[in-house]
Amino acid sequence: MRQTDLAIIGAGPAGLAAALEASRAGARVILLERDDWLGGQLVKQTHQFFGSKNEFAGMRGVDIATHFSEQIEKDENIQVFTGATALGFYEDGVLTAACAGRMIKIKPRTLLVASGAMEKMIPFENNDLPGVYGAGAVQTLMNVYGVAPGKKVLMVGAGNIGLIVSYQLIQAGIEVEAIIEGASHVGGYWVHASKIRRMGVPILTNHTILKARGQEKVEGALITRIDENWQPVPGEEREVSVDTVCLAVGLSPLAELLWQAGCEMEFSPQLGGYVPIRDSNLETTEEGIYIAGDVAGIEEATSAILEGQLAGISAARKMDYRIEEEKVEEIKANLETLRAGPVGEHIRQGLANVER
């Protein structure tokens, strides 16, 4: 059994930032990551980040991952396990994980779940055909393994992920036939939409996919215009010739470990699904269990970094490590600023219902 101050599940932006912050206060950290590398979704983000210049804005996500990884490697307080999948957190405070074909047991004084999110799926005929992908899988194939997912893609969803992945597909030399979006407006940042449009990719709002065509693999798709009640408009169906359908229809928090640990959960449409009730320091209703990043509510990487810092420093304080109180206030203020605009409205609404 391994003992440590803080065990962190997930080495994405939240987990990495938390590990560094807790270590800075003097805490010993075990960081578990299911992938064979650190960075989580950051490693697939080839675009420059938005946000404040003080928090990595202008840097490309993949470079932020490298920046964090280099610091973590040098940090003697942090022990990293890659290829390690967390399995369960039990009543006696033991965390188990599968790592290199073995089970490891860890007894941490505090736990941070920064497990991220999983992609949502939408129902349509033939959505199990090879060639129907989640946007995360498309990014993994292209940006991690250098494999083209197809030649011609229909993107479903005009949120930031759908828009950004469309742009990355074009950069990889793959054609994007259209981006369709069920809502009446583009959900992602308009600047992302504009940069795709001027490359000639249509964005069809009030449109959805009815079925994928093909026997062994995707050979096309039937799309339709829909009305404000999301019902197909008769006579507005049309066939598109594509070999790939990419779904970017939202994410939901990957919260199974928190359910198992007994945390009080609440359904929040604004935050993407069931999320744990938390206090202003990101501690759940189970004492010593913290959350940060998408598992706490679907947001984006800059807020995940800030939440990671907050959870890491809060866990350190819980264990009586000396921390700078001003730093805590500064992180909270930065989070508030980031969420203060119109695009952060749904986050503010969601948090109002789950923060105690």
Binding site: Q48, K53, V191, S194, R197, G200, G341
Partner: protein
């Protein structure tokens, strides 16, 4: 309309256009950032402080066109690739457009390219005058294209013609 399909309407564009008088004076920036999103690298990019300081990072950028000399440093610093520089009086018949460009291969100097508008429609031909791709730009190249003056305000992207039948 931006919200509807990613293409700004004439009314939306009006909000971000420098005046015609300023355009006639020489190179100037046009920042097509029309939504309040949390982002501020443009302010830090400008050595002449032509971007007014943000009280709140969700504000849209405000530009002091008297301070802007069209130096183009900000183009590669905008995560939204929403900044362009226009030189209206570039030559008698042509204006010069500077765009951020992140596709491979990069165009070459003197190459003739197809010019696209904000909806990706072909609106003419242009001539690449310069391609800047320094380390500081972090892989966002800046391509300068001479285009007929009458399409300068609509031209926002290029497509290479090599390898096509037209090329």
């Amino acid at each position: 309309m931006l919200k509807k399909d990613g293409v700004p309407s004439p009314e939306e564009l009006q909000e971000v256009k420098p005046s015609f008088e300023r355009l006639q004076e020489g190179p100037v920036v046009i920042v097509e950032c029309m939504q309040e999103i949390p982002c501020d690298p443009c302010y830090y990019a400008c050595p002449r402080e032509a971007f007014r300081p943000f009280d709140d990072i969700n504000q849209k950028p405000e530009i002091d066109y008297k301070k802007c000399n069209g130096c183009s440093i900000c183009i590669a610093h905008c995560p939204g690739l929403a900044i362009f520089v226009l030189d209206y009086p570039y030559s008698e018949n042509e204006g010069l457009l500077k765009i951020p460009y992140e596709l491979k291969p990069l165009p070459e100097k003197e190459e003739e390219v197809t010019v696209l508008n904000r909806a990706g429609e072909e609106i003419g031909r242009g001539r690449v005058v310069h391609v800047l791709n320094t380390k500081k730009q972090d892989r966002t190249a800046i391509v300068s294209v001479a285009v007929p003056k009458d399409i300068l305000m609509d031209a926002r992207h290029i497509r290479l013609r090599r390898g096509t039948d037209e090329g």
